[in-house]
């Protein structure tokens, strides 16, 4: 039976964890793990932020127009940050938001100035290295008018630690005509609980593309980002690529409020269930006319030991809107397996290729470097039995 709940009091403060001096202190196995998720010196990045437990260890930028700071520094340095801090997510939302509001460890502040369009991604990494701590972070990302930012975040835990809790508050602001591509590649542990709480506000003509990739075992994740499209022709896409392992409870949602004319969204999830419980939620709320929204959930069941639930919800307060959803849950078609077996693949190899194909989504608007990083992670995840 999967454990779905988290007892906050069972975890120690991340602030008491020993602080490594620099990234060189990480052992080979840790570095390999983070490299797999994209923290790779060979890859071109415009800026980086790495936090281990509560401590920011690396915070640097390589280009103009980009600001990266630990959130604690941004709170000290910028008077105006109050306009953004706890404005897209309420501190009163639940026990996890309250815990971060009361005792913040750190997090990142990233801002891209108006009309700057970065070619390569900015990389962040929130890493838990110490046993049984709660890492409480708050992130703010601001994409100013006409600017574009590709942000890739790799979150993970030490390969050999037992229980850990990650609570991540993220508030993203995409101003008029801006674009934020946010890609999460996560590798948690079998005893890690994860509670992201995310709020996004997109202004007129702005675009937000979120891709969440979780292919490895986790104890439990529960998240449901809330995105408000407040300006005309604003767009938001949420893509989740999830592999649910035995013993894992993964509850991923997404809620988009279409608050301005001609705003549109799509929420797409692909879920492969080897075991455990997987819930794919999606909610689109039409609060303006001429808006469009599409929900799509596909689940591939590879075992009788798992549970998959698809929970779509469409709400409309206007008549001239277009809201659709489609969902399909089922097993791998035997004819597909046999087709590949006739080409010389064993049954396991055939299933692995079909699963990989199922999880391969061409994401519109995602830079090729990120797409290839996702493809590489899929390649290395050794899908199949």
């Amino acid at each position: 039976m999967e454990e779905k709940t988290v007892e906050l009091k069972e975890f120690k403060s991340a602030k008491d964890a020993p602080k490594p001096k620099d990234l060189a202190e990480l052992d080979k196995e840790e570095k390999e793990r983070l490299k797999l998720l994209g923290l790779d010196e060979e890859l071109k990045r415009e800026g980086e932020y790495v936090q281990i437990d509560a401590a920011p260890l690396l915070c640097r930028k390589k280009v103009e127009g980009l600001e990266i700071l630990p959130i604690t520094s941004a709170l000290k340095n910028y008077q105006w940050i109050g306009d953004y801090y706890w404005k897209a997510v309420s501190p009163e939302k639940d026990q996890f938001t309250k815990a971060v509001a009361e005792d913040l460890d750190n997090g990142y502040f990233i801002r891209i100035l108006p009309n700057y369009k970065l070619v390569y991604p900015v990389q962040t990494c929130l890493y838990i290295r110490t046993e049984n701590i709660a890492q409480k972070v708050h992130n703010i990302v601001i994409v100013e008018e006409g600017a574009e930012l590709n942000l890739i975040t790799s979150c993970s835990v030490h390969p050999h630690i037992g229980s850990a809790l990650h609570i991540g508050i993220s508030e993203f602001y995409v101003k008029k005509g801006g674009k934020l591509t946010f890609t999460m590649l996560h590798m948690w542990g079998e005893k890690t609980s994860v509670r992201p709480r995310t709020g996004i506000i997109v202004e007129e003509g702005g675009t937000y593309v979120s891709t969440y990739v979780s292919l490895f075992p986790v104890k439990n994740i529960q998240t449901a980002p809330v995105c408000r499209l407040i300006g005309k022709e604003a767009k938001a896409s949420f893509i989740s690529i999830i592999v649910n392992h035995p013993g894992s409870y993964v509850d991923i949602g997404g809620e988009v409020h279409l608050e301005a004319e001609n705003s549109r969204t799509e929420i797409i999830s692909r879920n492969v269930v080897y075991g455990g419980e997987n819930i794919a939620r999606g909610k689109i709320i039409a609060k303006a006319s001429k808006v469009k929204g599409h929900l799509e959930c596909q689940g591939l069941m590879l075992s009788d030991e798992g549970i998959m639930r698809a929970i779509p919800e469409l709400d409309s307060y206007f008549y001239d809107v277009e809201l659709t959803h489609e969902a399909a849950v089922g097993k791998i078609a035997q004819e597909e397996v046999e087709y590949l077996m006739a080409r010389g693949l064993s049954e396991d190899e055939a299933i692995s290729l079909i699963v990989k194909g199922f999880l391969t989504i061409k994401i519109e608007g995602i830079p090729p470097a990120l797409q290839s990083q996702i493809d590489k992670t899929l390649e290395l995840a050794k899908l199949g039995f």
């Binding site: 046999e338 590949l340 006739a342 080409r343 010389g344 990989k356 194909g357 199922f358 391969t360 989504i361």
Partner: protein, 249 residues
Amino acid sequence: MEKLLEIKDLWVEVEGKEVLKGINLTLPIGQTHIIFGRNGSGKTSLLMTIMGFPTYKIKHGKIYFKSEDITDLPPYERAKRGIGIMFQRPPTLKGVKLRDILKLCAKENKVKIEELAQTFQFENFLDREVNKGFSGGELKKSELLQLLIQDPELVLLDEPESGVDVENIQLIGNMIKRLLQKDIPHKPRNKSGLIITHTGFILQYVAADLGYVIMDGEIYCQGNPVEIFEGIQKYGYEECKKCLKRIKF
């Protein structure tokens, strides 16, 4: 002549229904044999059984490939030993590119995928999801390209002409010709084929060595494939049955 494939008294069931009833067949190395028969006569069942698909349950009989008993081997073991099949209705594989499959088919064969695809005007399909939205002719090209790269010694083709438009039929014919080494002299040829056809189109491209008529899961005759086809065209399968049953073996 050395035997590549030998089938002895093969009885096969699908979901409890007998589909093959005592098939005997021998295919020497380098030869191509043609199978004629109505829909539902057991032609496809025969090819699927030779490939080893588990839906086709062998109740009795043996299949030998290069003198090895392969009756109980799974399809991928048969593929590794040199048997390849062209599907009549191949499935769409979501997210899997044709190129991915071609790479797998190539294994250690050093084949230039791009070059070969260009030869058959199919290079634009390499990065498309395999079989998704492909027309009849494109499906056949995709299947034959996979087989050309897999390079099997025994090629099983299930109605290679079905759904192919006139423009593409010649190209498909040439691909099959190459697959079966019909473009080289007979003697060094080591590729063999077992081909199901309805229209007989393949006979224009491939000099086949022998033809069979299958009816109700049994082979009713064997002989010159062109003559058998002409007989079927002229008199239909009913007449064929009456006439040929006498020489049933």
